[in-house]
Amino acid sequence: MKKFINKVDDVLVESLSGFAAAHSDIVSLHLNPNFLTRKQKALNKVAIISGGGSGHEPLHAGYIGYGMLDAACPGHVFTSPTPDQMLAAAESVHANKGVLFIVKNYAGDVMNFEMAAEMLPIVNGLHIESATVLTSDDCAVINSTYTTGRRGVAGTVIVEKCVGSLAETGADLQSCKLLGDKINQRTASMGVALTSCTVPAAGRPTFDIGDNELEMGVGIHGEPGRKRAQMDEADAITQELVNAILDTLKPVPNSEALLLINGFGATPLMELYLLYNTAANLFKQHGIRITRSLVGNYTTALDMAGASVTLCLLDDEIKQHWDSPVHTAALRWGK
């Protein structure tokens, strides 16, 4: 393992401290329990809180700020945060219109946020109403009644952006939840890994993969996906990702969509733009109009090489909230 580390146990706090210092105009860091909030508390709006294991930067702390999140709770690397973090964050940022938790659909995250939501109304005698949007855009994992269901991956960024925008307008908790659920249903992602990632505390790659192999449908923790396959040309790999998304969303011809190419951490932008070129052309061949785009490292898996393709089917409401101003460490436009 060759990484920038002082002491393995200090990686998380040192990284959070650096993030907070670098973006001290936008965020504040609170330690023990760990959570980050906006520098300026927003008033008279639904408080939007997300969180999850660390190692996916800029998710979620990078999306704190005007037009997106009010707070984020970082867990240990690839490990869900704990209810005390969520409760402290909720107490800090709630502004009398309730709290919306945006949670990626993993057993650990779901259970910890669930316990926080159950404990929330009894914390310090406050009466804080809460709701939860579960994101589950990863179409690599087949959904069924018997499984945990699809995993939440890069599509979560789109949910956080748009729900955050709606919350700024003063919309109520239920409306924010409904928009989040709607976007989640209209969004599908699929990823592919070329290498493993290495969790600092583990010190060795999470999975073994040969020089000429790829992991199709990989998750953002390096957990295996649909299948191990031979390395191939970018066009062929992208075709498989695009097909999985089309099979899932079944878009009608002339649908308008946002295309997100997300890097997992160790794939250069040059290759991500190459993937965008291929994916956009393939979707066009299926009659889809790509009118919004995002390319870059938005939901990473530490140092994994690879990328995911996310397609979100737009309507006027989603478009309006995607285009609206946002001012965070990782997404910033229009203001």
């Binding site: 329990p33 294991g53 867990g75 240990h76 690397v77 690839f78 490990t79 869900s80 945060p81 704990t82 209810p83 005390d84 993993y106 057993a107 650990g108 259970m111 910890n112 669930e114 316990m115 690599a140 994992v141 069924s144 018997y146 499984t147 945990t148 995993r151 969790v199 505390a201 583990a202 999470t206 999975f207 449908g217 998750g219 923790h221 390096g222 957990e223 295996p224 996906g225």
Partner: protein, 210 residues
């Protein structure tokens, strides 16, 4: 089971987890995401650090405090599940007010039931419940038949071992391995393995100290 035996068991669990680092880690790397050992070690270490503040508590109060500590320390899926188990056990012990094998069997079953509810999982899904549910059932049978501690401890360690081995040939339908389908077959579930280790350790501690 007195507080001092509970505390001794927890010290032994900490040691057992550390001893089995490579085994737990390689199981989790095969079908999980490689963090189970780190999380279990973090939780076990936090409890060891609480030793002095737990020593003067009744068993139910100690177990409840352990549950809350695990809830804020472990994270992931193991955190809420193990926390629910300890807090569920504590509740029954408090209500019953005694430390008989029957009461512990009831408390154990109640803790396992909270894991089942929180995790929305059951036997046969390649999780820690493949160990815990058979152990809870066997514990109730033996306690109700007034079996002695030695018989109970030996039987539960065997039941845990069999439950852990049963996950080898299962497809996972819950937890991080659920996305793997057939590829999970042939691998023991890391959560089932760590539960088996913990139960074995507690049984050994009871045989040694009571």
């Amino acid at each position: 089971m007195t507080t001092s035996v509970i505390l001794q068991s927890l010290l032994d669990i900490h040691a057992t987890i550390l001893q089995h680092e490579s085994e737990i880690e390689s199981l989790d790397r095969a079908i999980g995401d490689g963090d189970h050992y780190i999380n279990m070690k973090r939780g076990a270490s936090a409890i060891v650090e609480m030793h002095d503040e737990l020593a003067d508590l009744t068993p139910d109060a100690a177990l409840n405090k352990i549950g809350l500590k695990l809830l804020s320390t472990i994270g992931g899926a193991s955190g809420p599940l193990l926390a629910s188990f300890f807090m569920g056990m504590a509740k029954v012990l408090k209500e019953k007010g005694d430390t008989s094998a029957k009461t512990y069997a009831l408390a154990f079953a109640s803790g396992v039931d909270l894991i089942r509810q929180r995790g929305k999982a059951d036997v046969g899904e390649k999780t820690m419940l493949d160990v815990l549910i058979p152990v809870a059932n066997r514990f109730s049978e033996l306690a109700n038949a007034n079996a002695d501690n030695k018989t109970i401890c030996e039987a539960l360690a065997d039941t845990a071992e069999a439950g852990m081995r049963s996950t080898m040939n299962l497809i996972a339908t819950k937890g991080r391995a659920a996305g793997l389908g057939e590829r999970a077959i042939g691998h023991i579930d890391p959560g089932a393995k760590s539960c088996q280790l913990m139960i074995m350790t507690v049984c050994n501690a009871l045989l040694k100290h009571e």
